[in-house]
């Protein structure tokens, strides 16, 4: 393929309107990559307000975005994630691309009124997403 190579070499490196900083920004800070998002709600929206006295606002947060192909360095993903990506792209697109999901959570303290009128302070595990990953 020497002729194709020479053709390639003769081609201008980049279109005249190419903007390096735009390219870098897109590459380094992709717009819709997998990351943590806030979602503040009140317990009345969950219809839990007749039990819960505190906190007034609850932000469970959630993970959303595209999983980049080179996930290892940024999401602590296992090599399996890379393999799944290759399968999706090269072998069988019915195998889904890796998903953007929570990797770590933090607990939530609530003050609840029990049916018998007693009052309880409780700490529940895994109520707020604190880190995302691609799996």
């Amino acid at each position: 393929g020497q002729d194709t190579v020479s053709l390639e070499l003769n081609k201008p490196l980049a279109p005249a309107s190419f903007n390096l900083s735009e390219y870098l920004k897109h590459f380094l800070f992709p717009q819709h990559e997998c990351e943590l998002h806030d979602f503040r709600l009140s317990f009345s929206q969950l219809k839990w307000d007749n039990w819960i006295v505190a906190p007034h606002r609850y932000n469970p947060r959630y993970c959303k975005g595209d999983c980049p192909r080179a996930v290892g360095h940024r999401y602590g993903s296992p090599v399996h994630t890379m393999v799944q990506n290759i399968i999706h792209e090269k072998l069988n697109s019915s195998v889904p691309r890796p998903s953007c999901v929570p990797a770590k959570y933090s607990p939530l303290s609530v003050l609840t009124i029990e049916p018998d009128g007693s009052i309880a302070y409780k700490e529940y595990e895994d109520m707020i997403a604190t880190k995302c990953t691609c799996r």
């Binding site: 969950l46 219809k47 839990w48 307000d49 007749n50 039990w51 006295v53 505190a54 906190p55 606002r57 609850y58 932000n59 933090s106 607990p107 939530l108 303290s109 609530v110 003050l111 609840t112 009124i113 029990e114 049916p115 018998d116 009128g117 007693s118 009052i119 309880a120 302070y121 409780k122 700490e123 529940y124 595990e125 109520m127 707020i128």
Partner: protein, 288 residues
Amino acid sequence: SQVSRGEARAAAEAESESVAEPWSLLRPPDGRDRSGFLSPLFKVLYDGQGGTPRALRYMKRLYKAYATKEGIPKSNRSPLYNTVRLFTSCAQHTQAPGDQATGSVPPVDLLFNLDRVPAVEHLLKSGLLYSFSNSISFPSAVKCLCHLVIKEPEFSSWTPQRAPSLLTFNSQFELKKKYKWFEVDVTTALRPLVASHKRSVHMSVNFTCVRNQQQDPVAQDGPWNMTLLVPPSLLLYLNDTSAQAHHRWDSLHYKRRSSQRADQKGGLSACPMGEESTEGGRSSRHRR
């Protein structure tokens, strides 16, 4: 897609309506019918007993001390308990007027219903929470002796005859000058009852207070009006061992273990070959 989204939303609404109380996943199932049932929040706030809003105020203060505004548990709390329950007495009965001159508090009969304490919650500490109906300042620090009698719990009616008493306890505490709330530790008395999953606890409490001579020898004597005391609530500090509860000591332990493991790894690679060979030798000898 609009239509399907609308349908999806309607389905979600219906679904969430039909969901049982969401915390029922985290709370012991009780067979009681909830249909004709006041919302517990309404019950607590408006059931007319002076004690309840007071209890709610106390628990809100405790919440602020233990968690941030967003509900994240603060690290300054004891890592041992992840649950605190406050019970107001479902019936109290004052036997006789106290004697103001000596600062003795009239004995009071209390019945606490501990139905809500599931078996997975283990008692670590317990206290009777007293508060004054008006703010009171003591002429000086006072020492109090609390006398607690645990009675037969299945007490049929509130007749004045004394039920056979199970256990009696004494506990000492001191009241400083400015006090809004104070807690009398009754852990020793409550622990066997909570551990044996008693559904209700019937007790009679009275205490007498004397001025603490050592502290303020010069302070003038003077009766203080202990009848301003509101009948106490019962506080249980528990460790919920279920999977849904947050186990701080677990995460602390995990952190400590992982840091120890890191040290050990560092130690092994740092130790001179000689030791490592004896290390190896020792382990093979051990294996032998």
